[in-house]
Amino acid sequence: MIIEIGHFALVLALVLALAQATLPLIGAQRGIRAWMALAKPAALGQFAFLLIAYGALIHAFVVADFSVLVVYQHAHSQTPLIYKIAAAWGQHEGSLLLWVLILSFFGALVAFFGDNLPPRLKARALAVQAMIGSAFILFALFTSNPFARLSPAPLEGQELNPLLQDPGLAFHPPMLYIGYVGFSMAFSFAVAALIEGKIDAAWARWVRPWTLLSWVCLTGGIALGARWAYYELGWGGWWFWDPVENASFMPWLMGTALLHSAIVVEKRDALKAWTLLLAILTFGFSLLGTFLVRSGVITSVHAFAQDPARGLFILGILALALGGSLTLFAWRAPTLKAGGLFAPVSREGALMLNNLLLATATATVLLGTLYPLALDILGGGSVSVGTPYYTATFVPLAMPLIALAGIGPLLGWKRGDLKGALHRLWLAGGFAIAAMGVALWIDFGKQALAAAGIGLGAWMLAATFTEWAERIRLFRIGLGASLRRAVHLPRAAYGMSLAHAGLAVAIIGITASSAWKSEEVRQMKPNDSLTIGSFSYVLQGVTPARGENYIAERAHFKVMKDGAFYTDLYPERRQYMVQPMPTTEAAIESHLIGDLYAVVGEGDGKGAWTVRIYEEPLVPWIWSGCLLMVLGGIVSLSDRRYRVGAPSRSHVAQALPAAGE
């Protein structure tokens, strides 16, 4: 019964979405106030019905109702509760419903908090959002209905793939989805602005919180996914340049560009057409990612069941959304009023260059992701594009970007003083060179690229600090006065400093972990010892262990450092009861400058086990860096200017004569 209510709620949400996609749009065109006002209750209602639908699905998983097809396929009565709930988005149908739910969540947020928006813009943006919503609800209902029943109902279900029974599943997909589905809001605002034929500083201010919120969640989601892949053996480490990883990375790169260019629109009323294009393309990349993951054209742990009909449907949505919005862009963009002028060396210029570099870097990732597909379709044979390709293309484009990120914030708007900025950065430059020297010294200059990466990370970190110190005039005025300035800096400034520092820390971690990782594989008997780096591992023994729905062999390593006890590690090899599939659980111990990482393989039946020990330098820096970026985003989000629902300033309202209905 509850399942039918869920199914019915999904259909009702579709009806509301269709109404929301059409009536407010016509109302805005013809000036019918009541029709425009319809967008708000429709958006809220759509979200409420989808919430009911999702609740019904989760309920079915929790009570293990095997008469529901997806529950039968992905749950077992013995699955722990958290994985029963997480299984609701651990498969195609349920995760698509989550996709739609988040889409309507953003619509509802704008409807609820957007009372300060000009009514026309709000009506149009919500209508566009509902168009995307309708398309995806239709997709769910026709090709991937999560509420399909199974008759007769089996007594027991199949289990969720053991590899997915991990806390990662509980947090990584929802976070990631909020991120890349959230860019739909920027897209809807961009299309609405194109229909209006008008974009200004106020527009940028309204769009920014939604973009920032999406970016924060996407950053967090990608980091959580990377961490999951890092401790799951056989997924290629924290980053494998797998097509699916790229599918989430490309919207991140474009979203980052969008965040930066929107600043220029807001502060200087320039780069307006470009910003609209970025908003459209960012969500375009989100849709492309959805297509890549759900159509079965690529294969990875993320790829859901393969069904050509689904692929075609999403391709259709992608073509309509991108084709429609880009046509609209080509038609309307030339009519946009030209923005403010600036010298090439200026904050605007630096942000423009940042955007161009990000866009070019995204293009190389896109090529690397799609090339094997294209070659395969054209009959050119199977190839794979791996890390070496991205090291040779993406990295050289990202390096000047990092160098620029150190200088840009110190340039003035409109006309910057490059010499002055560089002069203020001499200390940061010295710090970077010193860091590079240390990196070269570590392996006697064998890895020049790694040294450059460390140097750039240090440069960005030091330059970010310098910029903050400049702002509060540290050591130029009294400490007390500096402190007062520090307290009164806008939160957006702190947001930028934190996010930039986070990226710098992450880059140092990424570089070190890629360059200086070491591993040792050996067969060990109890009391054998293995030394790697400054740690030695003594195998104490391997004992059977038992979990809620699996049995395991658990190894015990005593880790010694300089002859003294350091820590215990317990890697496991699990055998799940329902699906005959072993999984390997690594044991990881983090410390400031790296991770200890131990894996136990199979035993030879004569008392010896294959073990694999890694020394992973600076990996915790990657996670801390991402955390700082997320924190920076949140701090910036809390800035008064962007606070969701903050009343617009009076001069903003005056700048928008069209808002008066």
Binding site: Y371, G381, S382, V385, A392, P580, M581, E602, D604
Partner: protein
């Protein structure tokens, strides 16, 4: 600064970046692409030593052995027409077992032996990597209708009753 001058700068920078990116991509495609081979293709013509390639097929039943050091595995990959022997030092992935589809990445050494640096078998047990499915089709041993629920149906003698991968000597 005039609008025209600004636009000119923009166009020049964009072109410069695009040119750089194109050069980087072409260069990388030239050197860094990893091609996929099936054992039959290897038998026909062995790729140059040192070149990183991928090789895929089914793990030949009864071919998995562990060498003396306890951490190096040797096995054969077959497309049921030809087979290639592989040496791999490391922990085999959870889903690696005989009769199962697998893709390995590595190089041929000077003496003509394939040394794998990575063994990729990261999918669920019913899954056959598409390259492997293709290679099997090409060798004429693919049975339509076996679908993606792969190995037992198409590998005579390979059964799934080995109970995990603990069947190496």
């Amino acid at each position: 600064m005039k609008r025209k001058t600004l636009r000119l700068y923009l166009v020049l920078i964009s072109l410069g970046l695009l040119g750089t990116a194109t050069a980087l991509v072409l260069n990388a495609f030239d050197r860094e692409l990893v091609f996929f081979f099936s054992p039959s293709e290897i038998a026909a013509e062995q790729p140059a030593p040192g070149r990183i390639i991928r090789l895929g097929g089914l793990v030949e039943t009864g071919s998995v052995t562990k060498l003396g050091d306890g951490a190096t595995f040797s096995f054969r990959i077959t497309d049921l027409k030809a087979s290639t022997s592989i040496a791999y030092r490391g922990v085999l992935p959870d889903l690696f077992r005989e009769g199962q589809g697998v893709v390995v990445q590595g190089t041929f050494n000077e003496s003509g032996n394939f040394v794998a640096s990575e063994v990729l078998a990261k999918h669920d047990e019913n899954y056959l990597p598409p390259e492997v499915a293709k290679a099997l089709k090409a060798s004429g041993r693919w049975q339509e209708g076996a679908g993606t629920a792969a190995s037992p149906a198409i590998v005579p003698g390979a059964s799934s009753d080995t109970g995990g991968e603990g069947n190496s000597p």
